[in-house]
């Protein structure tokens, strides 16, 4: 009974709470800017509103454009269900490998970029080009930062990594902290946050992620926004749970699950404040300075791997 409950939570956690996370991030940013800001539940209302609007599809679009939102949203739900969230009991050996996770998300990025090019608009294609440039260069840092953990714990399974991390290993701490920094750079790139991209703007010449959604409307836009929120929550959860796994339920009881949920919320919120602060106090980088940051991420994680022995 409790295991069924744990699995339902595992599967629904990411899609249900991701809009909330976006709402909270926006709220924190508003506070930093001395604004009142919208309610933290506004993203849910936005999704509901978009789902009840008519959709306009460009004449030039093909089935790729219409199909992309479905596959992108589904992939984020699948990945969200196979990462360590609250308990180790929902481990799965099938999709829990970190390379599977990265490449499943890459499949989503592939369709996202194609749908940006599909309508032949002036903006979409450039967004796709920039998105793929950033995504391609992020891969090295992303894989190597997770590899640091995998080498310490001798498994590439995310649940195995968490299980290992729960026993505190002081000798790996410097490597883990370095890898965490590297992962955070990849996180910002993958989730289209500052200094890579500005999530708050449309119609800016340097935008990356938002510009690919420009042609979507109605349900297509709702799914794309939802998928982006899912991805944001997935990456934040990975950052806090893989690198600082304390609090995750080992045994399966209602009490431990609730405790794990509370700890997770606190950890994610802390990171969320960090990101909101970063977005409020720094400026976006020039596009051609982004590769430096991404290569730095790769080099940091390579050093981190060197510290594991």
């Amino acid at each position: 009974m409790i295991s069924i409950f744990a699995w339902i939570v595992q599967i629904l956690f990411v899609p249900v709470f991701s809009p909330l996370l976006v709402g909270i991030t926006k709220k924190i940013k508003a506070k930093f800017q001395n604004r009142q800001g919208a309610s933290i539940f506004q993203p849910y209302r936005d999704l509901w509103k978009l789902l009840h609007k008519d959709e306009i599809v460009s004449h030039d679009a093909s089935w790729i454009f219409k199909f992309s939102p479905y596959i992108i949203l589904s992939l984020t739900i699948i990945v969200g269900a196979s990462i360590p969230l609250l308990s180790l009991a929902t481990k799965n050996n099938y999709l829990g490998d970190f390379l599977v996770l990265i490449y499943m998300l890459a499949l989503g990025t592939f369709f996202l970029a194609l749908s940006g090019m599909d309508t032949g608009g002036g903006f979409g294609g450039f967004g796709s080009s920039r998105e793929m440039t950033v995504a391609a260069l992020t891969e090295g840092g992303l894989i190597c930062s997770l590899l640091t953990l995998a080498l310490a714990s001798r498994t590439t399974n995310l649940f195995g990594i968490v299980n290992f991390g729960l026993g505190f290993h002081l000798q790996y701490l410097p490597a883990i902290i370095l890898a965490f920094f590297s992962f955070c750079i990849s996180l910002l790139a993958e989730t289209a946050r500052f200094p890579f991209d500005n999530p708050a703007t449309h119609l800016e010449l340097t935008m990356i992620h938002e510009v690919m959604l420009l042609e979507h409307s109605g349900k297509g836009l709702a799914m794309m926004e939802w998928a982006a929120a899912n991805k944001f929550l997935i990456f934040l959860t990975l950052a806090v749970n893989l690198f600082f796994p304390f609090g995750i339920a080992v045994s399966l009881s209602l009490g431990s699950l609730i405790l794990a949920a509370l700890v997770l919320v606190v950890k994610v919120l802390l990171l969320c404040v960090g990101i909101a602060a970063l977005e409020s106090f720094t400026a976006k980088f020039r596009f051609f300075r982004l590769p430096d940051l991404l290569f730095t991420s790769f080099v940091i994680s390579a050093i981190a791997i060197g510290l594991i022995f």
Partner: protein
């Protein structure tokens, strides 16, 4: 009758069918249609028989030997098909079969333009020579069929001989492949010197006392020789020129399997023939793999010729295969044989995967080119509306080569990653650092490959047509669609059956002498692949999850939004008519990555302006910009070598005075020298 095909007779029947196809096509060359059907149908049946034959060996795991004529140990015609050969024959005949079916429809556009009999002749000989290359047992007969393969492919490259560029490409290929062969001959001669035999089986068993230096020379010259055929950087310069010149189904075979014969012999020599493996062999192969994969994909990104772009991806994928092979060699030299088996298994898996999706992509490219009559990606656009099925198959090929799950490319890249992860985990100091860099190279490579195929697919099939050619395009013939469909299914099947395929390829890897039946560091069931207990994953579940979740999401969204309208209209036109000039081009798409990597790629640009009045330079008529890359290989590698040769020749020229007295003196001096050597 059927049982015959499973014995060594099957191989002979298959070879016979190809020869009948070759000769018949040449005889009927006056009749386009007959020559086409005769050549391709014979190749279809020949491939089918070889497919059944090699498949049965892979299943039964019993090597087969067939002797055509009794020969000496210097030359014999014995064909031996062990597991490794059977694996390569399987790939060759699978692609041979599908490319021939495709060819039935594809070569129609050559009717009355080029001689189809000649095409059928060289095409059949080309396939059969590849089969013979991977089953030859004697160095001399190997060189003969190797040369046959090089020559037939050369004639296929220059088949469209009325285009100047193809002749040039063919010439470069001819030169490069023979430089490669020279190195191969050197390594075979050294093997002969050490063992007194040209028979691979005898050589294999008599090399134990060979000095390390000789073994190193043998390995290096084999690496250069077979690497030239495989297209490793910097010996790759022929590949992006020659592959696009050939007819598309031949390009598919060349990129899919011909360059793999180089990989076959490298595996054979490094894992089966040479007895010991120093660490630095693996290090060199790993470095070559990392460099080839990363540079291959970067050059592909900057390329706008459809087929040349795919050719650069072949270099990238050969690099990925070498990453697996290099890590296997490193493990082998350190005595970690079960990890070596894992690395070699990853390399073999990627070999068949690359053959499948690269053939699919080349066939798709051929379909597009046959309808639009241009290879320039910038002239396409919007083809998904004119050729929907080709577009779908090409999309599957793009996902497979970009290593996206649940297709086959992902599985072999995953295995390659895992074997290199083991390298980082098990080794220390410099080798560890090398593995970290190789992992980084593979990670960036796969990211850039996704980018490149977004570019190719987007620029070719999506948005609005950018030239009039596209609007005249229509779906290709059924035989061409059939081949692409089968290859798409195989690409998916090789991904889903990862567990089964991995154990199959592992048994091939451990059948080689140096890995003598060690248990590979992998265990797998149909559902799961488990590499060295470090990693575990399941492709059928990934595929199932994608299908199930997408359908649930789709139905839920449908229920919520069923009352909402979907209108098709013009969007974001900003009050003007949308034209193809507004959409992004392939050049624009890859420009940012070229700018980022400008230290490596060395982009060039030339601008030109033409004025209406040459004296009064106020009114420009048109201006042009030409983007390109500096050819750093000819500038820094081939040109200096050429200059060195010229300089040395210039020096030697001085002894050629033209005076007969001098020449007589030279003869006299040589005679005295020889006498001195022999007397002393």
């Amino acid at each position: 009758m059927f049982n015959y095909l499973l014995t060594s007779v099957g191989l002979l029947i298959s070879i016979g069918l190809f020869l009948v196809g070759a000769v018949g096509a040449l005889l009927f060359n006056k009749n386009n249609k007959l020559a086409n059907w005769w050549g391709n149908v014979a190749a279809i049946f020949g491939s089918l028989v070889a497919l059944i034959f090699s498949g049965s060996i892979l299943v039964s795991k019993v090597p087969q030997t067939v002797t055509l004529l009794n020969g000496s140990q210097f030359f014999n015609t014995t064909l031996r098909v062990d597991l490794l050969s059977a694996f390569f024959i399987f790939i060759i005949s699978l692609l041979g079969l599908l490319c021939s079916v495709y060819g039935l429809g594809y070569v129609k556009h050559y009717y009355n333009k080029y001689n189809l009999g000649v095409l059928g002749f060289f095409y059949n000989l080309f396939i059969v020579s590849m089969i013979l290359v991977v089953s030859a047992t004697n160095a001399l007969s190997f060189l003969i069929v190797w040369e046959l393969m090089s020559l037939t492919s050369y004639f296929l490259v220059i088949y469209e001989h009325r285009e100047e560029e193809n002749i040039k490409a063919g010439f470069l290929y001819f030169i490069m492949t023979h430089i490669g062969t020279a190195f191969i001959i050197l390594s075979f001669l050294l093997l002969y010197r050490e063992t007194g035999s040209l028979d691979f089986e005898i050589i294999k068993n008599n090399l134990a006392n060979t000095s390390g230096l000789i073994q190193n020379i043998i390995f290096i010259s084999a690496l250069v020789g077979f690497g030239t055929k495989a297209g490793i950087i910097p010996f790759h310069i022929w590949l992006p020129k020659a592959h696009p010149a050939a007819p598309s189904h031949v390009s598919a075979l060349m990129s899919g399997v011909m360059i793999k014969t180089g990989i076959y012999m490298l595996v054979r020599i490094a894992f089966d023939i040479l007895p010991s493996t120093p660490l630095w062999w693996g290090v060199i192969v790993l470095i070559i793999g990392a460099v080839s994969s990363l540079l291959g994909v970067l050059y592909a990104l900057s390329e706008h010729d459809f087929k040349r772009l795919l050719a650069y991806h072949s270099i990238e994928n050969i690099g990925i295969i070498l990453l697996g092979m290099g890590s296997a060699l490193i493990f082998l030299s350190l005595g970690m044989k079960s990890l070596a088996a894992l690395g070699l298994l990853a390399a073999l898996y990627h070999t068949i995967n690359h053959a499948v999706f690269k053939a699919l992509l080349f066939l798709g490219a051929g379909a597009v080119i046959s309808k639009t009559h241009t290879r320039n990606i910038e002239d396409y656009g919007g083809l998904i509306k004119y050729m929907p099925r080709t577009a779908f198959f090409f999309l599957i090929g793009s996902m497979a080569i970009s290593a996206l799950p649940p297709f086959n490319g992902f599985v072999s890249e995953w295995l390659t990653f895992q074997s290199m992860f083991n390298g980082v985990a098990a080794l220390s100091s410099l080798t560890k650092l090398l593995f970290i860099l190789a992992i980084g190279a593979l990670a960036f490579t796969s990211g850039l490959a996704v980018m490149c195929f977004v570019k190719v697919f987007g620029a070719t099939f999506l948005a609005r047509p950018r030239s009039a050619h596209v609007k005249e395009a229509s779906e290709v013939s059924l035989s061409m669609q059939f081949s692409m469909a089968v290859l798409s299914v195989v690409a998916l099947a090789l991904g889903l059956s990862a567990g089964w395929a991995a154990s199959m390829f592992a048994s091939i890897a451990v059948s080689l002498k140096n890995l003598n039946n060690f248990v590979p560091a992998i265990s797998s069931t149909f559902k799961l692949v488990n590499a060295n207990d470090l990693a575990i994953m399941s492709m059928p579940v990934a595929f199932g999850a994608i299908i199930v979740v997408t359908s649930i999401v789709g139905s839920l969204i449908y229920i919520v939004t069923r009352k909402q309208k979907v209108t098709h209209n013009i969007t974001w036109d900003c009050g003007t008519n949308l034209t193809p000039r507004m959409e992004i081009t392939a050049t624009g798409f890859s420009r940012s990555i070229i700018t980022i990597f400008n230290g490596i790629l060395r982009p060039t640009q030339q601008t030109g302006v033409e004025y209406r009045d040459a004296h009064l330079r106020y009114f420009p008529k048109n201006s042009s910009i030409h983007f390109g890359l500096k050819d750093i290989y000819s500038i820094f590698f081939y040109k200096p070598i050429q200059e060195l040769f010229l300089k040395v020749s210039e020096k030697i020229k001085k002894i050629q005075s033209g005076n007969i007295n001098f020449y007589i003196m030279y003869i006299f001096l040589v005679l005295i020298g020889l006498l001195l050597i022999f007397v002393m």
